[in-house]
């Protein structure tokens, strides 16, 4: 009996972690190039609602995933245009991207509130009651494995390929990157749109698998937790994955506390992930003495002074 509960907890942890991790990984790529995008929450929402609507209307999951990812990516290009091309304030633009994304998805999702999804992302191998850790790992759906692949790819691309080294160079030292002749605007634009695509995938995971329906504000701050995760992971993919597992575990643990004999108001349980995120962020910043390892040029627009 305990085992079934434990496996249930593990399963829920992996699902919550996947959702947070994909969005965080996308933001990591964007921030590595020196662009801060606070619009994660809005982009997840746009991906979630467009994926959901596509799934309802076409009953094709493949199409739903593609539409969700592409629409969130297209949506993030607003931020890329305003901050990279027009060099406007990244904080303002990102915040408005979140507000716009949430209201836009509420608008287009309104007729779909309460509708039930006929198709749902199923696990690849159907195991009714997983009894050990491998069975839990095997019973995840496709996006979980895509997330793992994305993690390995991203880590490899950032560290080992020219493209990744360019992104890092731009994020760390704009002037040197510019004098080396790197295409700064192009790279930052791509990195922002890739971040949007990842957030879209996370959103699709939310509405097609995690909670297979659509309601207003269902992203409930996950985009912001993803932003905190990037800081937690020190802008490193594997460490961010570890952070996602930790945060996912805490999110999964909350509703289960009662079964382990802890009496807690469900309203208080609901806010624990946010409290813990703040506490972890504070703790981490203290032990790192304020130097969290952020790319040096984050938030600074590139402008080549003409003389």
């Amino acid at each position: 009996m305990i085992d079934v509960q434990l496996m249930g907890l593990l399963n829920a942890t992996l699902q919550a972690a996947t959702l947070l991790f994909i969005a965080a990984l996308g933001e990591l790529i964007t921030e590595k190039s020196g662009i801060l995008n606070l619009g994660v929450e809005g982009m997840i929402s746009v991906g979630a609602v467009s994926g959901f609507i596509t799934a309802i209307n076409t009953e094709s999951l493949f199409l739903a995933v593609i539409v969700g990812v592409l629409s969130a990516s297209a949506f993030s290009s607003i931020h890329a245009f305003v901050t990279v091309v027009l060099k406007q304030d990244q904080t303002v633009s990102g915040l408005i991207l979140t507000i716009l994304g949430l209201s836009l998805s509420s608008l287009i999702g309104k007729p779909y509130v309460g509708k039930k999804l006929e198709v749902k992302l199923e696990s690849l191998i159907d195991i009714a009651e997983p009894s050990n850790i491998f069975q839990v790992l095997l019973s995840q759906n496709l996006i979980f494995y895509i997330a793992i692949l994305l993690m390995i790819f991203t880590a490899y691309i950032l560290k080992k390929t020219m493209f990744g080294r360019r992104i890092e160079a731009i994020g760390e030292d704009l002037k040197s990157a510019d004098s080396m002749g790197l295409k700064i605007a192009k790279t930052q634009f791509i990195a922002t749109c890739v971040g949007g695509a990842f957030a879209g995938l996370s959103g699709v995971y939310l509405t097609l698998s995690y909670v297979p329906y659509w309601t207003d504000g269902m992203t409930s701050g996950r985009g912001w937790i993803a932003l905190a995760l990037v800081i937690f992971g020190g802008w490193k993919p594997y460490r961010t994955a570890f952070g996602a597992l930790l945060f996912g575990f805490l999110e999964a643990l909350g509703p289960r506390l009662q079964t382990y004999g802890f009496e807690m108001s469900p309203y208080i349980v609901k806010i624990t992930p946010y409290i813990i995120t703040i506490l972890v962020l504070v703790f981490l910043t203290i032990i790192k003495n304020g130097n969290t390892g952020a790319p040096k040029n984050i938030g600074i627009p590139f402008f080549r002074e003409n003389r």
Binding site: V92, L104, A228, Y267, K270, I278
Partner: protein, 353 residues
């Protein structure tokens, strides 16, 4: 090679922010029209109805200005905090906390003189908002913890706390379907001044002037700007940047808390989830679009209040109220695009260069 180069303009038009706002608003109306058009509604009809029902009569105008109060106060708070180049994304939570603190004081005290009581309740709302940002402020100045994330996450915590209270300790047994705290006594309602316009609007005007004074005229405001500008300059000038940041955050949080208190005493008359409908987020747009200028925040706040009212009334003809939110957010995006052309110019490259 590139034929054109980008150059920063040496002189920026003084009214650039204002013009950018106008351009942004026009762009937003165009985008709004497009969305309405797709939804097979006549944009002209919808907008004229919005206009009529938001500023067409004394009653609707006072409704609009009442909605403007929280937008303006929270926006002013954000602008004060931005003087030290910090962001307050937690105004939504501070508004709720202001209402919670007010109710806490209201339950535990009793004063017969209703004017003094109202004053005490407003002050407790202000302190509630300040309390709400205390933790992000302390961790920011002591350890440099990212205040954007901490203030934002506080919103979810305070909203959860509100739901916890109105379903538990403060639950009004008489309110069955809609969980809420008990109503406050009619004696502490904020009086109306004109039509339905709450006297909270007068407080709002007063605080706009106070914010203007703090930011632009006071020594504290001057020191805040230096502290936010450059760490080295602040050190040379003997200004403790951390101290300024700390107090700026508390004051700014207090402004939003006051908004929650006024909302409770003039609109909802009790703690419920309806204390704020995203005012704290809209306030970010209001503050950012005006370049953090108090007088501008007041004016744009009034306009956005009318937009919000307009957005809620057009639901009766089957148009989603989110149109208003989308117009607000798009206005800022449009303004950012316009700002670019006021700050930069595109020059043709000299052949001999």
């Amino acid at each position: 090679m590139n034929k054109y180069i980008l150059s920063k303009k040496l002189y920026r038009n003084e009214l650039a922010t204002f013009y950018s706002f106008l351009i942004g608003f026009l762009i937003a109306l165009a985008v709004g029209s497009l969305i309405l058009f797709i939804q097979e509604k006549n944009p002209f009809d919808v907008f004229s109805l919005m206009l009529k029902l938001s500023i067409g009569s004394v009653n609707s105008l006072s409704n609009s200005l009442n909605k403007a109060i929280p937008l303006i106060l929270a926006g002013l708070g954000i602008s004060i905090i931005n003087s030290v180049k910090l962001w307050n994304i937690g105004a939504e939570g501070q508004i709720f906390m202001g209402a919670i603190a007010l109710n806490f004081v209201y339950i535990n005290t009793s004063i017969n003189n209703s004017q003094i009581y109202i004053l005490l309740l407003l002050v407790s709302g202000f302190l509630g908002g300040a309390f709400c940002i205390l933790f992000p402020a302390i961790t920011k100045v002591l350890f440099g913890v990212n205040e954007i994330i901490t203030t934002l996450l506080t919103n979810y915590i305070v909203f959860g706390l509100t739901i916890y209270l109105i379903n538990g300790a403060w639950k009004d047994p008489a309110s069955l379907n809609f969980p809420a705290a008990a109503y406050v006594s009619e004696s502490v309602y904020l009086p109306t001044v004109l039509g339905k316009l709450s006297s909270g609007f007068l407080i709002c005007i007063l605080f706009t002037l106070i914010a203007y004074y703090i930011k632009d005229k006071s020594v504290f405001g001057y020191e805040m700007r230096i502290a936010g500008g450059s760490e080295l300059t602040a050190i040379y000038a003997g200004i403790s940047a951390k101290q300024k940041a700390f107090f700026a955050m508390l004051i700014g949080g207090g402004f939003a808390g006051l908004a929650g208190a006024i909302e409770l005493l003039s609109q909802t008359h009790r703690v419920s989830t309806g204390i704020s409908q995203g005012f704290g987020y809209t306030a970010i747009i209001v503050a950012a679009i005006t370049g953090m200028r108090p007088i501008g925040i007041f004016l744009v706040g009034c306009l956005f209040g009318a937009l919000t009212i307009g957005g809620s009334v057009i639901q009766t003809i089957g148009v989603s109220s989110y149109i208003a939110e989308i117009i607000q957010a798009t206005t800022l995006f449009g303004a950012l695009v316009a700002q670019f052309f006021f700050s930069y110019e595109i020059l043709k490259k000299d052949e001999n260069d």
